[in-house]
Symmetry: C2
Subunit: 396 residues, 2 copies
């Protein structure tokens, strides 16, 4: 009796979430310490200590009716202004609270902006490999997902293919740097070229093409990699941000959309995002969490464990003969499957109690994603299992 | 460049929210004390003191990674089991955590269950007057909203009209008691008859018709009114609950869906709700708020101010010659417009700095909603303005 769409979804469901549940099952059988679950992007480092302190402080110094009550559907003006000020300082921009819409995480933000923009059959372009939920978010609004093929081994998107696939129906392009699942960080040259391709297409078709930059991993970068500020390259940019990873608060569902005033139809878009937040059932981003991020701007959890894990894994897996993308950001290692069928690779890994996700879940068969947001101890303990997997596939 | 649907929405937008914003503007001009804003259902009584205390306790005694991390998309099992236990004790039922899905408020819950159930063109029946957002929620999934006419002056829905409007495409009926905007509480006889009508229609069409009971005002009742437990009357019942009103936490977005095991296709429904929570971008209900409601089950804010306001308003407005539904629950007074055009009534009220919402926003022209979730002092101060409005319309 459930809807046809949901019936199909249940069959496909999310491989990542399935593995999350499976990991819990394996942990019950073998003991948590003996399962090496690298399947889910669930932050493994504690939130900064200011988080707990600030929550109690906010509760004690904010009138309860203000703290837990309704506010504008786009969020508290003070929170939005504080975020605008913070971005202005970092990026030398001139935003104010009208440019910021608080959202139920980045997932909520993406749904809000897609609800705002998409007519049925409008096209949204993604670069494979991509976070599988993009497909569901686009389908929520009857949009068409258009994939650009994976560009191995660098995984920097192929902009010629993009140019050839932009049409009069292209409403948006989603970009995600630092990237899930590859860990690649796109450089300034890339964004300059991307902007040029999109600008030409806008002129050709007489349309607006919005570049939606999904940035939950903005702060998680290595080796002094620089994360580009997308609106500085292309005026029709919209940024979706989440505090899930930078503050290790994924369960709290807090993030924002940044909508620069330079965007075509800016005023209609922010008004529509406000309404979309309401009618999609979010109503507003959780109020206490809004106050929390307002007071902790510029605080980050200690990301050094991710850097350490990256160092161990890239060193040791290379020795074992695995090929992978050397990640510049996020906490993912994208490993080339030793056999053509990435599901077979992941199945064998699971037999060695290592949980990784097939690249086909990200639109990129032949590869697999390892999420190294786990303790370094776990990474170390998993190395013998990886060695066994390497041996199974006859790598060096 | 925004979508056609959102373009239409912006034109219509929410009258209630508009008035909320307008109220803030008037407050800037005349001073907050001189504007009588009865437009929004924003709780006016403080959360119980245990709320602040418990938040700090939870932060101090729960590992941060557990407190702020991802969990199953349906919520923490412990929270869901605690809620099931609480309902079991109150209603003598036998639910467990599998019957409970934690949601981003009742608005999130309704969207999750409608996403789960609706194919495009499926019909969802509502009884006018009804919360205007139902229309948007149903349209989110391309469903058809079918209205049953207002049944003045009792506003207990006309079940003969319901029977005549049920079809093979009816997927759900939404019921809301205590009711927004009328304050009417439907009694057991009503639910028995409703169950009988729905059961007959299910047999006639060979379909399942789900009765979605939206219960954010469950605890707000007067004069020992009893709120029926809907699943005890009809097996295909699904309850949507929110802590927004009972704990005065509307900004925090925390509620749940109760899906009894007796529902047709129970297992598919709960699995689909889990997926819907994820793909609609909620991902999960805010984690800290889940822990909070788990620890404060059975706590309620002091609802006596609402009772007091109800007493003042019903006494004084009756004396002035206003007609209204005598409310048994919620914090709304549904007033008959002294003129046929309820928008004219609300316009005149606004000229006296009284903000109330036209009944046409709830599918019931000729009436208006007064939300008395304000301080009793505000209610007292507004009485002269109401007297002027009565005089304007020549009431006694």
């Amino acid at each position: 009796m459930i809807s046809n769409k949901m019936h199909q979804m249940l069959k496909g469901s999310s491989t990542i979430r399935e593995m999350f549940e499976e990991g819990k099952k394996l942990a019950t059988i073998y003991g948590k310490d003996n399962v090496y679950d690298f399947s889910l992007g669930n932050p493994s480092v504690n939130p900064p200590t200011c988080i707990g302190d600030q929550i109690c402080e906010i509760v004690s110094d904010t009138p309860a009716m203000e703290l837990h009550g309704y506010m504008n559907n786009s969020g508290y003006e003070s929170t939005r202004q504080a975020i605008a000020d913070f971005i202005n300082k970092e990026q030398n921009t001139h935003y104010d609270y009208t440019n910021v819409v608080m959202t139920v995480g980045a997932a909520g933000g993406l749904n809000v902006i897609l609800k705002t923009l998409l007519n049925p059959m409008d096209e949204v372009v993604v670069f494979a490999p991509y976070f599988g939920e993009y497909r569901n978010y686009v389908h929520n609004f009857d949009g068409i997902l258009v994939e650009i093929s994976p560009n191995a081994p660098t995984f920097v998107p192929n902009l010629e293919e993009l140019a050839s696939k932009l049409t009069a129906r292209t409403k948006a392009v989603i970009v995600n740097s630092p990237n899930n699942p590859t860990g690649v960080v796109y450089n300034k040259d890339f964004f300059e070229q991307l902007a040029s391709v999109l600008t030409q297409a806008q002129q050709k078709f007489g349309t607006s093409i919005y570049l939606i930059s999904d940035e939950p991993y903005r702060e998680i970068v290595y080796d002094d990699s620089q994360v580009a500020f997308v609106p500085s390259f292309y005026s029709n940019s919209i940024v979706g941000y989440s505090y899930s990873k930078s503050l290790s608060l994924p369960g709290e569902r807090i993030g924002y959309l940044l909508i620069p005033s330079e965007c075509d139809d800016f005023e209609e878009i922010v008004a529509a995002c406000n309404v979309a937040n309401r009618i999609l059932g979010f109503v507003n981003a959780p109020s206490l969490q809004q106050k929390l991020v307002e007071r902790t701007l510029g605080s980050y959890c200690d990301l050094s464990e991710y850097a350490h894990n990256r160092q161990i894994l890239t060193t040791e897996l290379a020795k074992m003969g695995f090929e992978f993308v050397y990640p510049q950001g996020a906490f993912y290692l994208f490993i080339k499957s030793p056999v053509a069928d990435d599901k077979e690779f992941c199945k064998v890994a699971k037999e060695h109690r290592v949980l990784i996700v097939p690249g086909s879940s990200f639109g990129c068969g032949g590869w697999a994603r390892l999420a190294y947001c786990v303790s370094s101890e776990k990474v170390e303990k998993a190395l013998p299992a990886f060695a066994e997997i390497a041996q199974h596939f006859g790598l060096r």
